[in-house]
């Protein structure tokens, strides 16, 4: 125990003397949260629309005016030529084309099937999905009004209306900030934890002090615990700043228990630091360690469900996420913050994360060799 005390003392001194790292440790959470939370949004605004109205009926005009009124769309051009519209789409000047063919209005009046053609630029598939959904919902809306007006005027019993109602639980207004922020918090402590720990032991190898340590009777676990604890503190500190910003600047209600978040963060950090220390024991230079840490980091984050829903990944991708600590923590922290989930709700994922941390830490301890 006393040995660990001396290592801790040394590690903390070194962290606080590192003039290039210290500002990053403090500034990173604020910058990351403020930049990423606002910038990384899935919300679509100002979708550029090209309208080809070859029908010019009252129906097509009413639909177009609905698009005009919507904050999500900007009508760039209105024209008769579909050829010209397609050119604009090719040049990337518009995001989508809405095409009313001649006879659309007539078909609506005769209560026949009337069709509107929607052409969407799908280079960015996720954006295209959203354009499509937004456009369809505007048309759908018009459709329903039409049906209800038919009902009231003709009083035709036969028209059955099946109404879909939506209600978004836990994030009723489908705001993106409450959705993104917990994920970005996870990102924050992952970056700090993984990189600092991955660079740490290997740094002692580079400057040659590791040999001096290895020739002492220090136990491997003592050495690694002494390395772990400072990073857990830093991780907690980052999380604290993040939660304070979340509550007071972004005004996100934290429905669940903050203590529970910290408990999960503790176990999560053990996993991440275990991975970092493992990388550190396996490499010879900080450069190698950095490169490997970066490799895992990119995979963990892109697969984690922070930017893309995991549900839309292929099955093998979802299976890969069983080994992704970032995915677990993002899932859990969203549940606690947005849904107010309690200990029992997250127990299964937390158990997996705990096993993961035990595995990584024993791996790191095992791979750290005092004798070559």
């Amino acid at each position: 125990m006393r040995t660990i005390k001396y290592i801790l003392q040394k590690e903390f001194l070194q962290i606080f003397r590192n003039k290039s790292m210290l500002p990053i440790i403090f500034a990173m959470p604020i910058i990351q949260l403020c930049v990423l939370v606002f910038a990384a949004t899935f919300e679509m605004k100002n979708t550029n629309l090209y309208i080809v109205d070859q029908d010019l009926s009252s129906h097509s005009r009413q639909i177009i005016s609905k698009f005009e009124a919507s904050p999500f769309f900007t009508i760039k051009h209105t024209d008769f030529s579909i050829k010209h519209a397609e050119d604009e789409l090719f040049k990337d000047n518009v995001d989508a084309i809405l095409h009313f063919e001649n006879g659309f209005g007539n078909a609506v009046d005769k209560k026949e099937a009337a069709s509107v053609q929607v052409l969407v630029n799908a280079i960015d598939a996720s954006a295209a999905g959203l354009y499509n959904a937004y456009i369809l919902s505007v048309i759908q809306d018009y459709n329903q009004k039409l049906e209800s007006s038919i009902q009231t005027t003709i009083k035709k019993q036969a028209v059955q209306q099946v109404q879909n109602t939506y209600s978004h639980l836990f994030n009723p207004e489908m705001k993106y900030i409450p959705y993104m922020l917990p994920g970005i918090l996870v990102l924050l402590i992952t970056v700090i934890g993984l990189f600092l720990s991955a660079m740490n032991v290997v740094r002692e190898k580079e400057i040659g002090t590791i040999e001096q340590i290895n020739v002492t009777p220090i136990k491997k676990y003592q050495f690694l615990i002494g390395k772990l604890i400072p990073f857990i503190f830093i991780g907690f500190f980052e999380l604290g700043i993040g939660l304070i910003l979340a509550a007071f600047v972004f005004k996100i209600p934290i429905l669940g228990s903050v203590w529970l978040i910290y408990l999960v963060a503790f176990i999560y950090l053990l996993t991440i630091l275990g991975i970092g220390l493992f990388i550190s024991t396996q490499t010879d230079t900080q450069q190698q360690a950095m490169f490997i840490a970066w490799f895992f980091m990119i995979i963990f984050i892109l697969m984690s469900g922070l930017f893309t829903p995991t549900e839309s990944m292929p099955e093998w991708g979802q299976k890969m996420n069983l080994l992704n600590p970032v995915a677990y923590f993002i899932k859990i922290i969203r549940m606690i913050m947005l849904k107010g989930s309690g200990f029992m709700d997250i127990l299964k994922d937390l158990t997996i994360l705990s096993l993961y941390s035990i595995a990584m830490l024993s791996f790191a301890t095992n791979r750290y060799k005092k004798t070559n």
Binding site: N18, G208, I213, V215, P217
Partner: protein, 248 residues
């Protein structure tokens, strides 16, 4: 020098890296309190052998006892009884003189009171009291080396291993460094030192000269000079080193 008590005993030590034999059938004894010089050209296998004796590296085969402990089975126990100063400077540059002493002494299990008293005595002796709270990185190399040695014997080990401790320091500092080594030896610490400075070899009680992983000669400096009919150690060394297969 008490020749009765062996503190290091090596029999048929081999260390191979693939097809390369770094230590080829080494056998020697080191006695309590002596200064044992381990000489050889670069790449002769000095550091390899020393790392095995310190428990930093596994031997391929051979019987090796250090401080009465087996390097295979009692490696961690052995580490309590030895000090080591590596070729690479190994104090923390971003910590102060006292913080370095405290850290290393602390992990050898010394109490903080003991550390404080002994550190003050040491700094007094080295004339470094004014540098107590200076960062190691700010000190000149000679001071750093003396400090590194003092830290290596701070926990009072039975044996201290020094791997080319005077590399890159000026002759005056080297002389001062050897005064520290003598002092440690007088205090009963066995000193095992590698070097390729032949004048330093003269300061040792006994020396062994390694060529291509083998010990080619082992005796007191006087006996070696007599045997090789040489006027100084330099000549002894050159006669032996010419046998090397790896001469450039």
């Amino acid at each position: 020098m008490n020749t009765d008590k062996k503190v290091i005993s090596v029999r048929n030590l081999y260390k191979r890296f693939g097809s390369f034999t770094a230590n080829d059938d080494l056998s020697f004894d080191v006695y309590k309190g002596e200064i044992f010089g381990f000489l050889g050209a670069n790449g002769a296998g000095k550091t390899t052998a020393m790392k095995i004796l310190c428990g930093l590296s596994y031997p391929t085969s051979g019987e090796i006892m250090v401080a009465g402990l087996d390097v295979y089975k009692q490696r961690e126990e052995l580490k309590k009884n030895i000090g080591y100063m590596s070729q690479k400077f190994s104090l923390y540059e971003d910590l102060t003189v006292f913080e370095n002493i405290r850290f290393y002494a602390g992990i050898y299990g010394m109490s903080s009171k003991e550390i404080k008293t002994k550190a003050d005595e040491l700094l007094q002796k080295l004339g470094l009291v004014h540098a107590r709270n200076k960062r190691i990185g700010e000190l000149p190399l000679g001071w750093k080396q003396k400090l590194a040695f003092s830290v290596a014997i701070f926990h009072n080990p039975g044996i201290v291993f020094l791997d080319e401790p005077t590399g890159g320091v000026d002759p005056v500092t080297r002389r001062q460094f050897w005064d520290l080594i003598y002092e440690a030896s007088r205090a009963g610490i066995t000193v095992f030192v590698t070097t390729h400075y032949m004048d330093e070899a003269e300061y040792c009680d006994r020396i062994s000269i390694m060529v291509d992983g083998r010990i080619e000669a082992l005796d007191t400096p006087e006996a070696l000079k007599k045997h090789f009919k040489a006027k100084d150690m330099d000549e002894v060394f050159l006669q032996l080193a010419r046998k090397s297969n790896y001469q450039e």
